[in-house]
């Protein structure tokens, strides 16, 4: 980057020059118009945030700029000159790099092999590795060139993706939802890096749906809605209210939700009041639970935990520190190595990867409902009854679907998630385990699913345990918070100042000031 900065003409502010301009970009997928004349101009040496809900066309627009797909109409200018990219290789050759939301890395190969991919002639691992190390260290993004990608943490894989672009002399970096896979600390670090990269003369396009991120780091903002650019301006000229209005618009909502959905303001760091509980018997209980994964890594050590009816237990902790295993043991998907688990026969479970673990996208809603009931339905299938049950579920869980016979794949992410939550609630009234409730959902759908979790009814009310990488989400919904750190689970006492997050971030990074979660919690 430093060399890059030195090559910029002295004197003039590089930000006066456009790096990448997209005008009138239209992209159609069959009958669907994904982009309808979208535009934006990205200035050199800036961070430009592209905002929009899921399906607004953010990624599609940037894929067009990256040569991943050819727009049906529109012009792309690179440093002022019109360009046409037929393949992403051509865009890469012109100094554009893109880090896709789902990393384009090959798990079975080494970092060096992954980065070398796409070159010509001999492949000399030693030389390539040396070059990678030089570029990575120069950019402040340490990577191990000989490591296999499958052995790397997600954040390290992301660094590999960025280094891959830099090794190819990318001057314009497109990052698609880069913080979605990171912990809050890692996200902060990445955004800081992005800022440094831009300050040194690089150009960054940041695709995100997190407003705070865009405000924190971007120089310019572009908001897309339903394939059109509805706002494109310098950040200094935009207020949060503008943005929210631009994002959600009036009368539009994904999945035909019927009218505008009020935006839930950025939640303050406040743990909701704990519910009054009459019944002291815990629904879920772990005693001295230890879990060693198949690779021999101890994931949980000596965990004692009790969850009571009506409680919404938020689990925080970075990836790999234990939340995933904790939730899956409570859900009955994992068996602890040692220790005792007390749980009802049926525990509802909403896994993080809906489309792989919770539903079969090509099956109808009714079929997806029946499947979850496993051994319950036997012999002759009374489909009309099941269809009625499904229809009821659609009504009670407020799932927008044309009917019980449509394939799951036709539902929007938010509706799928509500369907799964509703189905699991129907199956297991006493306890519900939810992994990353808003993963892959847009702002509106996220807000709704969180509100749904808060409002779960029943008598007695269910015990809910959920984990999210977004601390705000946990604090907005949970009645009690526990933090995982290196396989230990501790309760976090709410701070006296509700906006103070330090107790939570400290708990996730192993600093003290937490109390051990006894079977009785802090009740």
């Amino acid at each position: 980057m430093t060399q890059r900065a030195a090559t910029e003409p002295m004197g003039a502010d590089p930000r006066d020059h456009e790096a990448l301009a997209l005008e009138g970009i239209t992209v159609r997928f069959g009958p669907v118009t994904a982009l309808d004349g979208a535009h934006c101009t990205i200035r050199r040496g800036t961070v430009h945030a592209i905002l929009g809900e899921n399906g607004a066309g953010k990624t599609t627009l940037m894929r067009a700029a990256f040569g991943w797909l050819m727009p049906d109409a529109g012009t792309i200018r690179l440093h002022g000159a019109p360009v046409t990219f037929r393949t992403s290789a051509e865009a890469i050759a012109q100094g554009i790099g893109m880090v896709h939301q789902h990393f384009m890395l090959i798990p079975a190969m080494t970092v060096t092999e992954n980065i070398a991919l796409g070159g010509r002639g001999r492949f000399d691992a030693g030389t390539t590795a040396a070059r990678i190390t030089a570029v990575a260290d120069g950019a402040g993004l340490p990577v191990d060139p000989v490591a296999r990608v499958r052995d790397l943490a997600v954040s390290a894989q992301q660094r590999v993706e960025i280094v891959k672009a830099l090794v190819r002399d990318a001057r314009i970096l497109i990052l698609d939802e880069p913080t979605a896979v990171l912990t809050p600390d890692q996200a902060t670090e990445l955004l800081r890096w992005v800022r440094t990269f831009a300050d040194a003369g690089g150009t960054v396009v940041l695709i995100t749906h997190k407003l705070r991120e865009a405000f924190a780091v971007a120089d310019d903002l572009t908001v897309l809605r339903q394939g059109r650019t509805v706002l494109s301006a310098a950040r200094a000229l935009v207020t949060e209210a503008h943005l929210i209005e631009a994002l959600t618009g009036a009368g539009v909502g994904p999945g035909g939700a019927g009218g505008p959905v009020p935006y839930h303001p950025m939640p303050t760091a406040r743990v909701a009041d704990a519910p009054e509980v009459d019944d002291p018997a815990p629904v879920l209980r772990l005693d001295g639970v230890r879990y060693v994964d198949p690779r021999g890594v101890t994931r949980l050590r000596a965990v004692d935990l009790a969850v009571y009816p009506g409680e919404i237990l938020g689990v925080i902790g970075v990836e790999g520190s234990g939340p995933r295993e904790l939730l899956r043991i409570l859900a009955g998907r994992l068996t602890p190595t040692t220790g005792r688990v007390t749980r009802p026969d049926a525990v509802g479970f909403v896994p993080e990867d809906r489309l792989h673990d919770a539903v079969i996208p090509s099956f109808s809603l009714t079929e997806n409902l029946v499947l979850a009931d496993g051994g319950e339905a036997r012999g002759w299938m009374d489909w009309s009854t099941w269809r009625t049950i499904t229809r009821d579920l659609l009504a009670t869980a407020d799932v927008r679907a044309a009917g019980p016979d449509v394939p799951m794949a036709t539902l929007s992410g938010g509706n799928q998630q509500r369907f799964v939550v509703g189905r699991e609630r129907r199956r297991a009234a006493a306890a519900l385990i939810v992994e990353h409730p808003t993963r892959g959902l847009d702002l509106t759908a996220s807000a709704r699913i969180l509100a749904d979790l808060r409002a779960l009814g029943g008598n007695p009310r269910p015990a809910v345990v959920f984990h999210s990488a977004d601390l705000d989400e946990v604090l907005a919904v949970a009645t009690r918070v526990v933090a995982c750190f290196e396989g230990r689970v501790r309760e976090v006492s709410p701070p006296s100042d509700p906006t103070d997050r330090t107790p939570y971030t400290r708990a996730m990074t192993g600093s003290v000031e937490t109390t051990a979660v006894s079977s009785g919690g802090t009740r």
Partner: protein
């Protein structure tokens, strides 16, 4: 002991040679993320192609003819799977049936009922000067046909190409993740076309070797399941060049064992010996089940047909 061992090992290398050609061809195809189970049809096409071309232009022409016939069959497979997006398993099965049927028909059409002329050109073993006089190793490894010697050169060359060239890296990447390969700007279709055609040419060489270096003539169905064994060899060899070559040797040994045991006069029905390599295939595949080292794209049927 040596009187039995040397002929056995010699026969092992000799029978392993065509298997190794087919298996290495299949290896390259599979490393690109496509499984071609039509190898059987490719090999039999190589047999007939080799016979016809050798009759017209000598043994060297025969190998060229075999390779072209194999590549031609593979082109049909590639056209259906890559261009028309047909199911690879169905297409491969059809290719096997097509190859077996078409060669029988063509053979009878070309040579009538009396069969091929006995004067089919063939290649004889060449004793390499010096090396062939080494004890044990000499008669086993260095008194073989040119096709075996070519294989000695080809195996390290392929291993090097896969590991040390950008093209080899690209081929492996396409087999592991089509999406990542596309993101790197690779032409997935072209790489797969190349890998399939190469696999076909290698399968054709296998067939030509059978005819011109071993059997000396063509019989209907003479590929005798070698195409399927080649696929098993690739699995046994864990999709690696050297491993696959060694696995081909094991199967060569199983074929050779049937000669050895029959020569030793075991009073067992000879069908049992004939079944030995196939039995071995089943046993080894069952013993090696599970471990996931296959190119990841092989598991994603859908991706074979997408651009």
């Amino acid at each position: 002991m040596e009187a039995l061992l040397i002929p056995f090992l010699d026969a092992t290398i000799r029978t392993a040679t065509p298997l190794a050609y087919a298996a290495l061809g299949e290896l390259v195809t599979e490393r690109s993320g496509v499984i071609n189970i039509g190898m059987e049809g490719i090999i039999i096409a190589g047999c007939l192609g080799g016979l016809v071309a050798a009759g017209a232009g000598g043994a060297a022409m025969g190998f060229l003819g075999g390779a072209l016939a194999g590549a031609g069959m593979a082109a049909i497979f590639a056209f259906f799977v890559l261009r028309l997006r047909a199911d690879a398993i169905i297409t491969g099965t059809a290719l096997t049936l097509l190859g077996l049927g078409l060669t029988g028909t063509l053979y009878r059409g070309l040579f009538g009922l009396e069969g091929a002329a006995l004067g089919t050109p063939s290649i004889a073993p060449i004793a390499l000067p010096g090396l062939s006089s080494l004890p044990l190793v000499g008669p086993v490894f260095f008194t073989q046909t040119g096709m075996t010697y070519l294989l000695y050169l080809f195996v390290p060359a392929l291993a090097w190409w896969l590991a040390r060239t950008q093209a080899g890296l690209a081929l492996r990447a396409v087999g592991e993740s089509r999406a990542a390969a596309l993101a790197a700007g690779l032409d997935v279709q072209r790489l797969r076309w190349g890998a399939i055609l190469f696999g076909g040419a290698m399968g054709g060489l296998c067939g030509a070797t059978l005819v011109l270096a071993q059997v000396g003539t063509f019989t209907e169905g003479m590929s005798a399941g070698r195409g399927f064994i080649a696929i098993a060899i690739v699995v046994l060899g864990r999709w690696r060049t050297v491993g696959t070559t060694l696995a081909a040797l094991i199967f060569g040994g199983a074929f050779a064992l049937q000669y050895l045991l029959q020569a030793a006069g075991w009073a067992l029905p000879y069908h049992l010996f004939l079944a030995l390599p196939y039995l071995l295939t089943l046993i080894l595949l069952a013993a090696l089940r599970g471990r996931a080292e296959a190119p990841a794209e092989l598991a994603s049927q859908e991706s074979w047909s997408r651009a």
